[in-house]
Symmetry: C2
């Protein structure tokens, strides 16, 4: 059986001779970015160090990943430890190390969750279905972009790059793995970072950027992800403020049937 | 000179005999919540362990605080260490300990920031000025509420508590310290948590709730905070999704002159 490139990318080996909770992993060429790995795959690797951990309680509720330094191609170690375990919630501290230095830090909360009332306050926008939304081929050197099918309803890559202020940075896009794979918490963390930098869209120009910190709130239960399977999800992203070398982004992911899967936020460095 | 209760609440003593970077602090009765301390003051204490740290580089860009367990009244220790220091950014790991156990964990990013282009995409809503927005007195046992003047433009405390679905959980409120104090990064972190739980408003009922994780993105430079001084700031908060025992909240804080100070998010546990 062929291993899906995502499963290969997030695979971690428990180091029995390491201190408590060290995992060995490796960067993945198929999820490479312009420089170093795609941030989403790094987030998925950090989450997977919790998901695979024998002491884990429950499923992910929140994940914050801080991008401290460029992850170098090759091996890395992840140290994940439960800082606090309660009756139904658990708090994690996670670090990815290369050459003895932190390249990523993260915190996560997992919880045993039960179905409750559901109140939507950010409903899925009315958009044409994926079948009526064309895939636009666009040359880009980033390998990770080839892992996702993207059908932009609005706010695709800006053309031409004329440095005009578009007034909005909102994107709506249907997303799924090019190579079908059932959605799970790790792949949901990865696709939460699949929006190109909002400044590119708002100003129709490329500038050096890098996500500094990303937070993901998981709203769906594991069984809801099973229902999504390898189907499309709708992503929506928009910047709120761009100033003093940083901008933020707020985003949502829904299943095609309109269930909220994730709300996510990030703050991104940019250089003029 | 009398010490402002906020300054007393966030005061930390460096423990020269502690391991690297241990601070001693204490909970503050004036910022007490229904049980334990107000989450905002805990966030401010965690941030202050970075702000006061001799190795700090730059000003806050982001802060994520995870509420692991109830903070008991009395002393606590905060351990803050720079996990990575780059040329212009720095990544922090922070833990608050009581009785040898983590009660809060946090990560923060600080950076040397420079003014750049500013693009608003979430402008301050058009609302009446604070002078035309009455303060509504309401009995509540929480001490921290007495520290903030709140003038609700919309979405104040629901009355009656009739469990009706309001359809929206949006609040717009003018905020300032009752006892005047110039705004700084620590007090900005605190006031970022000054919104009562969105579920109370959406459903006009009280249920047990607790913030699990909160993230703050700081958009303003220190000199912009100086400009705000002890003036009013406008806060806006809204839930996006309530389900499976948790809901999220997204919020913004502007200066009265319309400058974006903070965008902030949190995920909150609730029990039906």
């Amino acid at each position: 059986m062929t291993v899906h490139p995502f499963d290969d990318a997030v695979a971690l080996q428990w180091q029995s001779d390491g201190a408590t909770g060290h995992w060995l992993g490796h960067t993945s060429a198929p999820y490479g970015n312009f420089v170093g790995p795609f941030g989403g795959i790094s987030a998925a690797q950090m989450l997977n160090a919790v998901l695979l951990h024998p002491q884990r309680l429950g499923d992910p509720v929140s994940l914050t990943v801080n991008f401290c330094a460029a992850v170098a191609n090759g091996e890395f170690f992840i140290h994940a430890r439960p800082a606090r375990t309660n009756r139904s919630t658990q708090h994690w501290l996670i670090e990815m190390m290369q050459a003895g230095e932190a390249v990523l830090t993260a915190t996560a909360v997992t919880a045993i969750r039960r179905p409750t009332l559901g109140l939507h306050e950010c409903a899925m926008p009315a958009v044409p279905p994926p079948e009526e939304t064309p895939v636009k081929q666009r040359f880009a050197p980033m390998q990770w972009l080839k892992r996702y099918e993207m059908r932009f309803v609005r706010g695709g890559f800006p053309e031409p790059l004329n440095d005009a202020d578009a007034g909005t940075s909102q994107t709506q896009v249907w997303l799924r793995d090019v190579l079908a794979r059932p959605l799970d918490f790790a792949s949901l963390a990865s696709v939460s970072d699949a929006f190109f930098p909002r400044l590119f869209l708002r100003r129709a120009r490329f500038v050096p950027v890098g996500t500094v910190s990303m937070t993901i709130y998981f709203h769906a239960l594991a069984e809801q992800l099973v229902q999504v399977g390898s189907g499309y999800i709708l992503g929506q992203a928009q910047g709120q403020h761009f100033q003093n070398g940083f901008f933020d982004q707020t985003a949502q992911l829904w299943s095609q049937s309109g269930e909220m899967l994730v709300t996510t936020h990030q703050i991104v460095y940019f250089k003029e």
